[in-house]
Symmetry: C2
């Protein structure tokens, strides 16, 4: 696949100016299996009226038009239902950070509409929600989409982190919807983006506009999930890429015994990535934030350090730990107004937990927290190299023990951060298939006139043919939170459940991992052959497919 020179090429010169590797090319033309229901005629069947994840009265007030609407499921039928064609005009937008499979959701929507609704048009809004507000779009065609099929990245139409939030912004979205005569918009994003999608759906419905809105669950963090939406796309691929790297480092450690490797993984508050990578690779220690908040971990360091004597791997994903975020927001407040005096009096303005946490950090990290700011005056959280911090802390502790005659070993820490490498890999077969099905489902939901639903594909432990397809009422996933003095609807982030099967699996194995080196090397993701269709442990354990 060398450079293409079609007219549309100009819209995304990056991809089209590119040359493809053999593996990329091999992925372009594969045919993806579909859930059987999507290969036949089907009815879109309503379930019972829905409620909310919490505070139903509050959600009902915020979504007067959508609250209580049923979730739906596609059921195969002899004929007819899907025959109600009529062309549609649909817009699609990518929102937030990249996750492998985004391009497949778009091609899934496109393919569904081409197959089932002759004469339909699909617009790709460019650069995220801002593309909707500015009516910045490209019309998608078979030729335009082709080079992105089963490829990583979000560069087909790119993404953005804007929100459609203010009355003015909603107005802009309305204008775009009217201008393009949109029957629907598909928002591909995480928890906040799907909340936003639901607000947009409510707004359009409230104004009696025909434009419907359907969400799709995206995030490598894996924190957007529930019974009906068993996983978010991208998680499978990202974890497998990180696990490949971790497995290689483990093999290295086993061969040399020279270093203790400290691995930090990309991620936000939830530790699903760490948990999944732990299940795939069996490190000596995995720090799951939901179990051991950072502050406690730091206080318990003598316990952890005693374990360290026998370990070669440990890792963490704590740069955006909630307590650290709290500390940082307090620091931002204080530093905006005060000077940091040498005597440390300024620290008295911190809440006690934050002060305690601050004091636990090594000096280098304290300085980073106080000094390094981005242009908006904020600490650059993701740049805090907690993996190096932990190494420093272990060094300090071991030096102390050496002086006390309690330790006479050699400790060399080797820090690693695996982040950007995982967000844009070629999607695994699972993510490719799952995203394709999510896209088809979004198309089916829009065709059947639904709005305010999130595309839901289930029974994921079974072969693709047996996957279920439907849509879940977004309001049913919501709760109300008070933010900045206002009630806001939120889809609650799914944190690692300490009573859930994946964590219990970890808990049952980790004592053995800590003392014996049970390292597993998952190896590179395979697209062909006996191992190509493996699904991540988290999902299989949660579904009860694996014990």
């Amino acid at each position: 696949m060398s450079s293409t020179t079609s007219e549309t090429g100009k819209a995304v010169p990056g991809r089209l100016a590119s040359v493809y590797s053999e593996v990329q090319t091999s992925r372009l033309n594969i045919s993806l299996p579909l859930p059987s229901v999507l290969k036949t005629s089907f009815n879109v069947v309503d379930g019972p009226p829905s409620s909310a994840a919490g505070n139903p009265d509050g959600i009902a007030k915020l979504f007067p038009n959508l609250f209580g609407q049923p979730s739906v499921i596609l059921k195969a039928c002899d004929s007819g239902a899907a025959a109600k064609d009529g062309s549609l005009k649909i817009g699609v937008v990518l929102s937030g950070g990249q996750a492998p499979g985004g391009h497949n959701v778009i091609s899934g929507i496109f393919d569904y509409l081409k197959e089932r609704t002759k004469g339909s048009t699909v617009y790709g809004f460019k650069g995220g929600p801002a593309g909707i507000m500015k009516c910045n779009y490209v019309e998608l065609s078979t030729e335009f989409i082709y080079p992105y099929r089963n490829q990583g990245g979000f560069d087909m139409i790119c993404s953005g982190r804007d929100k459609i939030d203010t009355p003015e912004q909603f107005k802009q979205a309305e204008e775009t919807a009217k201008k393009l005569d949109l029957d629907g918009i598909v928002v591909i994003g995480g928890d906040d983006s799907n909340t936003n999608a639901c607000l947009l759906a409510e707004n359009f419905r409230g104004k009696n506009m025909k434009t419907r809105v359907i969400g799709c669950p995206k995030t490598i963090d894996g924190d957007l999930k529930c019974k009906e939406v068993p996983t978010s796309f991208g998680f499978d691929t990202a974890c497998k890429i990180y696990s490949e790297m971790i497995g290689n480092v483990m093999t290295d450690a086993r061969s040399t015994g020279k270093y203790y490797h400290f691995v930090r993984l990309m991620g936000r508050a939830a530790s699903h990535i760490t948990l999944e990578c732990a299940l795939e690779t069996h490190p000596n220690i995995a720090i799951i934030g939901e179990e051991v908040p950072l502050i406690i971990f730091l206080q318990l360091n003598s316990i952890s350090f005693s374990l360290l004597f026998s370990i070669s791997i440990i890792w963490l994903s704590i740069p955006c730990n909630p307590q650290v975020q709290q500390l940082i927001s307090e620091l931002n407040e204080i530093l905006a107004q005060d000077v940091v005096d040498e005597t440390g009096m300024w620290k008295k303005k911190l809440q006690s937990q934050s002060e305690e946490l601050f004091e636990l950090f090594p000096q280098a990290i304290q300085e980073q927290l106080l000094l390094e700011r981005d242009p908006h005056g904020n600490v650059q959280v993701a740049k805090i190299e907690t993996e190096k911090m932990l190494i420093q802390m272990v060094e300090t502790e071991l030096d102390k023990r050496k002086h006390e005659g309690q330790y006479n070993g050699q400790f060399k820490g080797q820090p690693h951060f695996f982040g950007y490498e995982g967000r844009c890999g070629l999607p695994t077969n699972f993510d490719a298939n799952y995203c394709n099905a999510l896209g088809y489902a979004a198309g089916a939901l829009l065709q059947s006139g639904k709005t305010g639903l999130i595309s839901s594909v289930g029974n994921l432990g079974a072969p693709v043919e047996e996957w279920t397809v439907g849509g879940t009422a977004l309001t049913s996933l919501m709760d109300v939170e008070r933010r900045h003095g206002k009630f806001k609807p939120v889809i609650k982030k799914a944190m690692v459940e300490l009573e859930g099967a994946p964590f219990k699996k970890l808990a049952s194995l980790r004592d053995d991992w800590a003392l014996n080196n049970r390292y597993v090397s998952p190896g590179p993701i395979q697209f062909v052959g006996p191992t190509a269709n493996a699904v991540n442990y988290t999902l299989l354990l949660e579904l009860g497919v694996k014990a």
Copy 2:
């Protein structure tokens, strides 16, 4: 593959205590294709007498028993030659840093001897050459070897960086050879280790011992190669792992445009890894040390920075750049004796080129060079984060330009270091096959009574069946260098040839890459399917198979 409890298991509890991933398991039982000559009867045919790469008189003096001996090639014959069986006792040792495929060399030797020399014994010396000197070994068996087949790492017998160098150490090696009644030793290592292997062969021959020594070319750096030894094993796998990561980061960059990514790769003086990864992924800038010595690159920063305005990727492998090494060794001398005075008078003791280089470094790097020492008082070279240094330098330059009104963009650099992830991956099909053939070749050479040769497998651009198999006189690869006042034999490191096909390919494409984003995402290494047998660009271009 869960834990094994055989007696031998105790010797390498690491691997045997492990659990295998599906991909690891899938690699255990594959059957590797062999060059046809290794599937029939063959004669080991001598070539013409050999000379040396340089200074033949010097080499002749250092290797009176081996100098001039012919290289050999295996030629298929009707029968007979290979029938001269009789069991052998062979020791094998891994020397130096890890490279994917080491286990396959060992299993290749083992399989050859089992097939062709009934009753043979193979010993694995543990922990590198020190294992020979201390007679620390394990007897290899089918069961012992099995879990390591086609797996990454060196943990079957582990490696080490000791040298057999002094008369006392040679004596220890002789004692081990006699104690185990060794017919031969196979040394799997890089340029220095193979030089050492030849010295050992010379020593044994000089003392009329029966023990022969055969080398095998190992190093991910790719700097041990010549006409007869077209590549060193591990290079193919390591470059593909790095390229997978680089390609993912490139896709990320193309999707967001938020960062300029600066990637440093593991490696020493030669830039083959950087060159190969560049050919695989098409970055905007690749710094090839052989073309642009670091000092010149830093001086030319205004030129480079003007390019930077349009780039998203750049990378380098300069932590062990020769000029930096020179600077560091001078610093080590000075700091061992002097105090670093504030006025900077100590700098006058640096050679002018070193002082110039030192002054070009940002302050943070200067401090690292002056302060951070390992327990032996040496700068920890690999820890100098040159990727961050370059980012700092670009920031400084762009700030200056902003003040001068010449630049009004946004620059955010994102550093990456890909190192340990690549050394221990599961070997590619190429490395698995190549190493297996190298091991078989070593077995054949020992069986035919050869010594002082390096196992040589050629015609690598053709299908495995057509590969040639032989041995190259190690003395023919050597030159003499004066080190610490003594003449020492050395196999010259193969640096990137600016007139060679791989570099010329880069040179012909990079202007386009610099200005247009031609990023390629090689994706994960595949073991099955249409892309599984791809061979690296460097090798194909050097062989003239690719243009």
